[in-house]
Each structure stands twice: as C-alpha cells, then as structure tokens.
C-alpha cells in the first residue's frame, strides 16, 4: 500500500484506501483467473470449490462491517438476510428458467430480486431493532435470525402453469404436470442448475465495495458515523439517527441478500438451517478480525478464514480445534498492552465496540509523529 500511497499522494486518504481495495480485489481476481486458465488443474480442487463461497462470505463480511463497523450496531443475525436472499433468489432463478435462458442474466435478475427482498425485510426488522441499544439490539437481531430460520424451514413453494403455489408448515401444494417445487420446507432448495460463477462473485464483491465506499464517503456516511460516535450530539445537530441507521441496516441487508443468492445458486442443494446463529457468528468473526470499519481487512479476513479450515485438513479431526485456538490467540495478541491504552479510551468514552479501525489509524499516525 505504501508504493500505491506515494503515487497517489494527491488523493484524499479515503479515496486512496478505496482505490487500493479495488486494486487488491481486481488483482486477486486476475491472478486467480490466470492460474485457472494457464496451469493444469487450476488453483487446485480445494480452492476451486471455495471460490464462490469466498466471494459470498467476503460480501457478507462487507455488509456486516457496514452495520457493525460504520453504523456501530452489533448484529448477530445477518445469516438470516443471507438465507432470505438465497431462498428468494434461487426460487426466482428456477422460476425464470424458461423466461431468461441466459444463465448470467438470470443470475443477475435473481440477485437483484434476492437483494430487494432482503432489503425490504431489513427495513421491516430495522423498525423495532433500531429502537434498542447495545446488547439488547444484538439479542433482537439474533432472535430475528432464528425466526427467519424457523419460518423458512416451513415454507413450501411450487410453480406450475397455473402460477405460484404457497403453503406453510405442511406441503399442501398440488402441482399440475410439469410444475416444479421451488422450496421444499426442511429439505430446502434443490437447484436445477448451478448458475453462480466466480466472475459473478467477483462482480458482486466489487459492487459491494463500490456501494459501501460511496456510502461511507458521502454526506449520508458521515451522518451514519456521527450517529455512531455520539448519538446525542448527532441528534442535536439535526441528524435523524434512526433514519441513517436504517439506511446502513437496509443497505447491508440488501448486500447480504445478494451474497445469499450467489451462495445458494452455487450449491446443488441447501437448507434453511445452514444459515443459523453459527453462520452469523462466523461472519462477525471475519469482521472483527479484519478490523471494524476496515473494508479491505474484511475482504482479507473473510477470504483467509474461509480457506483456513480447508487448508487445515491435514490436521483432520484437530482442524476445528486448531481454528478455535488460532482464533483465541489472535484475539489475545491483537488486544495486547500497546493497544490497550487505546481500548481503555474507548471504554471511558462509553462507546464499547465502535469503529476500531479508523481511530487506530489516527493513533498510529500520532505515535509515528512522536
């Protein structure tokens, strides 16, 4: 980044960061595509199968970072939005199979639909959620995640020439000949075709980055961060805290929905219980390890931690144990005494978990000046 920084000294710091992040993602994409195209066996069977999930999780991490890092609210139910996106998007993709024969176009339509449904749901959930603070907000998002999981598990959706059939709890759909079941309750979705591609995943990550950077570096983004840093001060200068928190929350839900569609359409089959509390936590781990409010950190952490359990396969049964130990050690190491004075300041200010990354940057610059 330092080379890049010298060349781009004329730019604003925020522009440099976003350009560097775009560059990093594009470079990674080009390198992987070159390896896949030129080398026999591509990037290896292990990584090959992980490419689309990595893109989906990177987008999820970016979306969650918008809520946790930029907006300063802890969400423990983001997998719920991913679930909604996956189920809505993939049933859309299957329903459009005869209407739009081109797979990339169909995937795009499915993603837009998945994102829209998730955004609407995010808005509806945001109404009660954003009235609360801190840990209470966290537990309510957790509750919504569990409710989405419970409800989606019981949805049966079928499509035939007479239109859509919907039933809840028990499968009461009677389909005409040639009709197909889109969502089959606890059995989930069985995709007729896996239309997600790595290129689509890359485009989604880029869109997520562009949306988030443009949002964060705009008037709206500054209002969101002001509301995070001091709610009362923000309100006193006329910022509607709920409105701006809602913008961040719904945008994040939309991105999560699109990521869900990407993930869902890359699987042969998936069920609602896949998107449970553990998945929400997994994504939160990406965000925290990457640094709150730090987008390129989220990209790297999500990619690395999706590969890590696969790369640890040589440890076989011990791999998740090693993963847990690595996680604990990293958390202990990154919160060592040199950073503790900075964290202590956070605590005294009353804010508990907001925005580590940008202020960490300021602190290190101050230290460098000394």
């Amino acid at each position: 980044m330092s080379n890049m920084g010298k060349r781009l000294t004329g730019m604003k710091r925020s522009t440099r960061t976003s350009m560097a992040t775009y560059g990093m993602v594009i470079l990674a994409y080009i390198v992987i595509q070159l390896i896949r195209g030129l080398r026999d066996g591509g990037v290896g069977p292990l990584l090959e199968g992980q490419l689309i999930p990595i893109c989906a999780y990177v987008t999820m991490a970016l979306a969650l970072n918008l809520v946790v890092g930029i907006s300063g609210e802890l969400s423990l139910g983001h997998a719920g939005f991913m679930s909604i996106g996956a189920f809505a998007g993939c049933s859309m993709a299957m329903g459009l199979e005869s209407v739009i024969p081109a797979a990339p176009l169909r995937l795009a339509a499915a993603m837009v639909f998945g994102a829209a449904v998730a955004a609407v749901l995010g808005f509806l959930i945001g109404i009660p959620v954003l009235r609360l603070n801190g840990d209470y907000l966290a537990i309510v998002t957790l509750a919504f995640g569990e409710i989405i999981k419970g409800v989606v598990t019981n949805i049966y959706l079928g499509l035939d020439s007479a239109g859509l059939h919907f039933s809840f709890l028990t499968n009461g759909n009677e389909l005409l000949d040639g009709g197909k079941e889109l969502i089959k309750g606890p059995v989930g979705v069985m995709n007729s075709e896996r239309i997600s591609t790595f290129t689509a995943g890359f485009i989604l990550v880029m869109i997520a980055l562009i949306v988030i950077f443009n949002l964060v570096n705009s008037r709206t983004g500054r209002a969101i961060m002001a509301a995070r840093d001091n709610r009362i001060a923000a309100e006193s200068v006329g910022i509607s805290v709920t409105k701006y928190k809602m913008i961040a929350f719904a945008t994040s839900a939309a991105l999560a929905g699109a990521a869900g569609t990407l993930y869902g359409c890359s699987q042969v089959t998936f069920v609602a219980t896949k998107f449970d509390f553990n998945t929400s936590i997994l994504i939160l781990v990406f965000v925290v390890l990457g640094g709150l409010g730090n987008m390129w950190g989220s990209v790297i952490a999500a990619a690395a931690l999706t590969i890590l359990p696969e790369a640890l396969r040589q440890f076989q049964d011990y791999r998740m144990l090693v993963y847990a130990i690595v996680l604990i050690l990293v958390m202990l190491a990154t919160n060592n005494p040199t950073l503790q004075s900075f964290f202590a300041r956070l605590f005294r200010r009353g804010g508990d978990d907001d925005d580590a990354a940008p202020r960490k940057g300021k602190l290190s610059r101050k230290e460098a000046a000394r």
Partner: protein, 306 residues
Amino acid sequence: MDITVILDYLIRGLSLGSVYAIIALGYTMVYGIAKMLNFAHGDVIMVGGYICFFSMSGLSSHFEEGSVAAMVVPAVAGTLAAMVVCTVLGVTIERLAYKPLRQASSLAVLITAIGVSYFLQNAALLLWSANPKVFTPVVGRGSLQVGPLSISYVTLLTIAVCIVIMIALTTFTSRGKMGKAMRAVSEDKGAAQLMGINVNATISLTFAIGSALAGIAGVLFMSAYPTLTPTTGSMPGIKAFTAAVFGGIGSIPGALLGGLLLGIIEIFAGAYISTQLQNAIVFAVLIVVLVVRPAGLLGKTIREKV
C-alpha cells in the same frame, strides 16, 4: 381445553423454565460483573453433562443392581463431579482467555468467548466422539401421581433445585460479604477497588458460581432431554441467554422470571401452535417484550445524561 392438560403443560414449562433460569443465572451474573456475553457458557453445560454421564456409568457398576446405594451414590457423585469440573473449567477459561482482555473492547471479548465455545465443542468431539450418548436421569424415570396429574421425578427435582438455588443465591448476594462485594464490583469496578475489594478475585468467584450452576443445569437438562452430543449445549445456551435478556440482563430475579416465562411459552407454543415454530415463537415474544420494555422485564433503564 382440559384443565389437567393445561396444568400438565404448565408444570412441564416450569421445569424447562427452571433449567433455563439456572443457566440464565450464569449469564446474568457474569454480564452484571464483567459486562461480557459469555457465549461459552452453553458449552460448559455440555461438559457438565458428559462428566456426570461418565461418572455415573463408571460408578453404577460398583453397586448392586436395584439397591438404594446404586440409585443414590452415582447420581450424587456424578452431579458433584460435574459441578467441580465445570467450576474448575469456568475459572480456567476466565484466567486464560478473558482476564487478559479485561480492558479490551467488548466485541473482542465476545469473539474470544466464541473461540472458547468452538474450542470446547471440538475438544468434546475429539474426546468423546460425535456419537450421541443416552443419559440416564439422575432420579430414575418414575413419576408422582397427584390426582389426575402425573409429574415425573425429574420435573419435581428440577423445580425444587431451581427454588433452592434462587433462595441461596439471593441470600448470598444480599447478605454475604462476598455477595456484597460482587454487587459493588458490578456497580462500579473502580470505586469497589478503592474500598479494598479484590476485583479480580470477585470476578473469578462469579465465574466459579456461574459455572457450578452450569454443571447442575447440565445434569438437569440432560435428565429431561437425554441425548448428549458435543453441540448439545448451544441451543439451551442461546435460549437461556435470551431468558436473561428477557428478564433484564444483570438482574438475578430477572433471570428467574425470564427463564420460567420462556420455558412456559416454549412448551405452550409447541403444544397449541406448532412444534416446528416453537423456537420462532419464543424469539418473537422476546422481540415484542424488548420493543415494549427495551431493558427487559426487570431491567433498570439507565437514562443517558447530556
């Protein structure tokens, strides 16, 4: 609707709620004093269940089948072993993983707690394999006949233990010197330290009590739902955490109230609405309560001053 059926569900709900309440106490005490969400608490319950299972199955072969000693000794020894192991485990976790992060952001501690939770689950997976173990209830499978109602011994024991624990804990925190120290630390760490209270020892004690309760809860939960796997603890853990928030996190009577209500709602939702939507309904009620009372049923609303 038949009144006996409703009573039966009510008692089952109270029993399940008592287990939630005991687990929620661990969450709420730790939250009150260390301001952290200890996500590994649910997995301590699982460890308690395994320890009790192995002590009981190891001991029961030494006694004559059907004798009084064969019924009492393994159960009591198993429960005590679970409590001791959980206490040691809880205090060790606190020392190794949470104490170095005392000054860190609450999110860092939360992620560490999740790491500990993964660790416990996977360590259990390696040590005891993923094959489910069938737990033998600590008080036998019989039930007590009260008129038309039949109440299982496990249910009775669970409710009784919950009452005893609540009375003991309330007395301890309101009368005992250490209990007063705990309340002081939870109110203001700095001021408590100035008054000569050993803050670190108090926090360790809180973890010890919370984990011992988790051990008891493990034994009781397993007696009612006897399938034991390395991930058994996570769902009751999340539910109990919900119960703690429901009643107002940080408040001991709140944990009891939240736990009992949650248990009753869960049983009634399963009986009269849908078993598939049981959990969704429980969480929906939680959301409604929090929207109406943002600090939980018995929680204190702290007004922010400008």
